[in-house]
């Protein structure tokens, strides 16, 4: 059994699943629009929340948030499940699937068989969509792959019950009904954008939002004292991996969000947003510049002396630029 589901490649797994799911129900939105509506751009650096024993740096909100926000905004009724018992989780998946409903799953990538070995670490916030089952194999649409794929039910069970930081515990989600569906309008975009600005600007802790970037910079200056030379480089490697990991669309969503601003600017006829889009795209380039210079730390470990201060200064500049961009974006809506 396979649903008539159009698989499309996407830059970010969760956006991709949401877009493909909505598309299945005849709602056509672009990936940047999903990111915008879901307020999917974010930044946090949390020294107290660890992944692989290192502070977690994240460029996205908590997994599942984008799906929840987008569907809530559009008035779509959804359902989430999580299970203690893996067998029940698989049963429920079959039950929903055979009703003809594509199901989104949150999985860990550590045991995901089609990922290259180098990408398989304890990262538990990957999303994919199950769209069919033939004998003992599930047909899945993983948005970061160009094609559909198959995965055995034993393997799928394994990745649904991955462990480590924030385990998925068999979480699954699907669209229940469209009876209160409202088509996309200006108000929704404004509201979602205000939410984004609020997340990026007004969380009163230093580790979140645009100011979090500067916070990461300040922490980075201390890394060599705290972790030693190698430890510091490993931390930097983790930041760059999160920044450019498959599924961020490069440079931590900046380009994708810029694409959203451009699309919205055309839709709502707001030239200012296109300008902000270009500026945000430039900060994306600055993030890439950061990664590019950061990567030197891995190559000549013993050679030329470079300092984390230089990198930290780059982050400080990015933080200021992003604060400025999102402040102006927020004002442009509030002033109307």
């Amino acid at each position: 059994m396979q649903l008539d589901f159009e698989h499309r490649h996407a830059a970010h797994c969760e956006n991709g699943v949401v877009r493909n799911l909505l598309n299945f129900y005849g709602i056509q939105l672009s990936e940047p629009m999903i990111l915008g509506l879901g307020s999917g751009i974010f930044f946090s650096h949390m020294p107290f929340y660890k992944l692989h024993g290192m502070p977690l740096t994240s460029f996205r909100p908590f997994p599942g948030t984008i799906f929840n926000r987008v569907t809530k905004t559009l008035g779509i009724d959804i359902q989430w499940h999580k299970f203690k018992d893996p067998d029940k989780a698989m049963q429920k998946l079959d039950e929903i699937l055979f009703k003809g409903i594509p199901v989104g799953l949150r999985v860990g990538v550590y045991n995901l068989s089609y990922f290259p070995q180098e990408y398989r670490f304890h990262f538990n916030a990957h999303n994919l969509c199950v769209i069919g089952k033939e004998e003992d194999e599930y047909i899945i649409s993983d948005p970061i792959g160009m094609n559909k794929h198959r995965i055995s039910s034993a393997d799928l069970k394994k990745v649904r019950y991955a462990w480590g930081t924030s385990p998925p515990k068999g979480r699954m989600y699907y669209i229940k009904s469209l009876k209160d569906y409202r088509p996309l309008d200006e108000k929704m975009i404004d509201k979602a954008t205000l939410k984004t600005c609020s997340d990026m600007l007004h969380i009163p802790f230093p580790m979140f939002g645009a100011q979090g970037v500067a916070y990461l910079g300040r922490r980075m200056r201390k890394w060599e004292d705290m972790y030693g030379k190698r430890g510091a480089a490993l931390n930097l490697a983790q930041v760059i991996r999160m920044l450019e990991e498959i599924g961020t669309g490069g440079a931590g969503f900046r380009f994708m969000y810029a694409a959203f601003l451009q699309e919205a600017s055309e839709m709502l006829n707001r030239p200012l947003w296109n300008q902000l889009s270009m500026e945000l795209s430039e900060t994306g380039d600055m993030w890439r510049d950061f990664s590019y210079h950061g990567a030197r730390f891995f190559k000549n470990r013993e050679g030329k002396i470079q300092s984390y201060d230089d990198l930290a200064t780059k982050l400080q500049i990015i933080s200021d630029r992003e604060t400025d961009i999102f402040t102006r974006l927020e004002k442009s809506i509030k002033r109307g």
């Binding site: 045991n111 970061i144 792959g145 795209s281």
Partner: protein, 135 residues
């Protein structure tokens, strides 16, 4: 980033992989419009990944030497090599962290029950024979 600047530095994505994993960038074309461009990777990212794994391999080699000198058991080596910590492995297997730490010592490792051994091997995705050797 411009469309023609989208990096295509492949390092890890196998081209024969049927699913075709790709990155996807939103890059600007000549008219200042965003276009979607698939990408196979970027050097700095690949360097970061490679660095993390090289480091891991070096750490694992250190542990391997200590297995040879009798300080640790092969389990400790395989955990280090396969990015496992005692807490995550305990979640996968249902064995307590205390037990897993204990099994990292040779004298407890040799006394391990066969079912514990196979549970650990299954969670690490290796065979029992592999788990008991360090080659």
């Amino acid at each position: 980033m411009k469309v023609n600047e989208v990096p295509q530095d492949n390092a890890f994505l196998q081209s024969d992989n049927q699913i075709g994993l790709r990155d996807r960038y939103y890059a600007l074309d000549e008219d200042g419009k965003f276009q979607e461009v698939p990408s196979v990777g970027w050097k700095p990212k690949n360097a970061a990944i490679q660095f993390a794994w090289n480091n891991r391999a070096e750490e694992a080699e250190k542990v391997r030497q200590q297995v040879i000198t009798g300080k640790y058991s092969p389990l400790a080596y395989h955990m280090e090599r396969l990015l496992m910590t005692s807490s995550i492995l305990s979640q996968y297997t249902g064995l307590s962290r205390y037990k897993i730490t204990k099994y990292c010592k040779p004298r407890h490792f040799i006394k391990m029950k066969p079912e514990d051994l196979s549970r650990l091997a299954a969670a690490l995705n290796i065979s029992v024979e592999e788990l008991t050797t360090i080659d």
